[in-house]
């Protein structure tokens, strides 16, 4: 019979209309994202040795690292900057970090009004001036 398909469709629509809501009212309700979620970055400054492996792994030159020599002649991290405006969030930096210092966190709200705010300084040691620069190049 012609129209049977239409009736069947209307029936399904009826069920969907009175079924359980499948959308979430953001921002009143926040999604609980899985721990691996690529939301934003966090750096454990005491673990990072400033080796620059992450900067070299990055396909888009997002990371720049400043280091300085400490009194013990060892290299220390002075500043860790990420230009998130050009980040692909692929995770190659996190994956390649040899000292497991760089991580993702599910906190995803990074929207900001000014372009300068997309440049994130994840670590800054104000004690001494940077001496050696290991840039993305």
């Amino acid at each position: 019979m012609f129209g049977q398909g239409l009736l069947r469709g209307l029936q399904i629509t009826w069920h969907l209309a009175f079924g359980k809501a499948i959308t979430e009212e953001y921002p009143e309700r926040r999604p609980s994202l899985p721990p691996r979620s690529h939301g934003s970055f966090v750096l454990e400054g005491d673990k990072c040795r400033g080796c620059g492996v992450c900067a070299n792994a990055c396909p888009n030159h997002v990371i720049s690292i400043d280091t300085r020599r400490g009194e013990d002649k060892k290299r220390h991290l002075a500043k860790f900057t990420m230009k998130l405006g050009q980040c692909l969030f692929c995770g190659l930096c996190v994956e390649n970090c040899p000292s497991d210092a760089l991580h993702f966190k599910p906190d995803f709200e990074l929207a900001c009004y000014r372009f300068e705010d997309t440049i994130h300084v994840l670590f800054e040691d104000k004690a001494g001036a940077p001496e050696q620069v290991a840039d993305e190049e």
Partner: protein, 370 residues
């Protein structure tokens, strides 16, 4: 003779796109119309050209993986798979068993997600608003699964040369099983809302017809070719990875019209679910990444590798000069080839038929323009 019949009529040119909801991206079709009838179509491409092939020459082999996500962004896993398998072929790398199974699961999930988008957007293009929701609701579950496994939802970058980026978390398998259980009910809803709907059928039965011979001449591949009646699927005829271990059918339909191209996607979703269930059952334990050197340096040479993408045959041609960066990379994208047949399919129909035809070809402009 009546006066109106003696009047000279002229064809008019109508620009569809580049900003048009039914072109599914920035694509322009220059239609030549005789009244309501389309007599000629000219494809105008290149609005989304990002020079990915050139970018590859300045990236290391691993660094290019995130860029493959941005080809066919609806089926990122399949692009990842095609690229990493091409490099692995060049370097002769043996991928661990568990990684192979995970790759199959992810690739098929990606195929389902891509087909869901096609089904939803085609229904939407034909004003089937309600039929948009069930596919997108179910696709959301797949994206959640992806996020669980690799942290991203759309641009996944999950595959690595020699395996996958990370093993799946423990909560992944139960969630996937739940998804597979709920999948038939979702398909039933889509069938009820779109496939069986008389208005939908009237809009796309016999529309944008292409016969097998013309389809082959234009190089159509994937579901569009199978909707013309040829059971050609690379997973069956030239299995790559471990696809020869799974039992599945290659669904075909005979008419080669927009309706068949729609229905074949739904049939393929069922088959993909079948493959995932088998892969999940046989999923072995073990490592997920082979022992590969930290700096990927394939030997001098070239390789061409094809996989069955969501839209058709997806090929990667990689030339290596022995350095850590590809000397040349070429991507054979199915959407680009399929779009070439659009003028033939659309000719003779009306403008609204052209919309249905374009939706049924299922193009992704990220892949067309690269």
């Amino acid at each position: 003779m009546k006066a109106s019949a003696q009047l000279a009529t002229e064809e008019i040119i109508l620009n569809m796109g580049p900003q048009h909801p039914s072109t599914h991206g920035v694509y322009r079709a220059v239609l030549t119309l005789d009244g309501e009838t389309v007599v000629g179509v000219q494809n105008v491409l290149g609005y989304l050209h990002r020079g990915l092939e050139k970018l590859a020459e300045d990236r290391t082999y691993t660094q290019f993986i995130p860029y493959t996500d941005r080809l066919d962004y609806l089926a990122a896993m399949l692009n990842n798979l095609g690229y990493v398998q091409a490099v692995e072929k060049l370097m002769d790398i043996q991928v661990p068993e568990r990684a192979e199974y995970l790759r199959v699961i992810m690739a098929e999930l990606s195929r389902i997600a891509s087909h869901y988008v096609m089904v939803a957007s085609m229904a939407l293009d034909l004003s089937g608003w309600t039929a948009w929701f069930p596919p997108f609701r179910d696709r959301e579950k797949i994206l959640d699964l992806f996020e669980m496994a690799c942290g991203s939802r759309l641009t996944l970058s999950y595959m690595r040369i020699g395996g996958v980026a990370a093993d799946i978390p423990p909560e992944f398998v139960p969630a996937l099983q739940r998804f597979l259980q709920e999948l038939p009910r979702g398909l039933e809803e889509i069938n009820g809302l779109a496939t069986g709907n008389e208005i939908f059928q009237a809009r796309c039965r016999g529309v944008g017809k292409i016969d097998l011979e013309t389809a082959l001449a234009y190089g159509l591949t994937g579901p569009n070719l199978r909707a013309c009646g040829l059971p050609f699927d690379l997973r069956k005829v030239r299995p790559y990875g471990i696809y020869d271990r799974f039992e599945f059918e290659v669904p075909t339909l005979d008419n080669g019209d927009a309706y068949d191209r729609f229905v074949i996607r739904l049939l393929e979703i069922e088959q993909s679910a079948k493959i995932i269930a088998q892969a999940l059952r046989d999923l072995p334990e073990g490592p997920v990444l082979a022992k590969v050197p930290r700096v990927i340096k394939p030997p001098e040479g070239e390789v061409y590798h094809q996989i069955e993408g969501a839209k058709g045959i997806l090929g990667f041609y990689v030339v290596s000069d022995g350095s850590p960066k590809p000397y040349r990379l070429h991507i054979h994208s199915p959407s680009f080839v399929n779009l070439g047949a659009f003028p033939v399919m659309a000719a003779g129909g009306t403008v609204q038929d052209a919309v249905a035809t374009l939706a049924s070809i299922d193009i992704v402009l990220g892949e067309v323009d690269r």
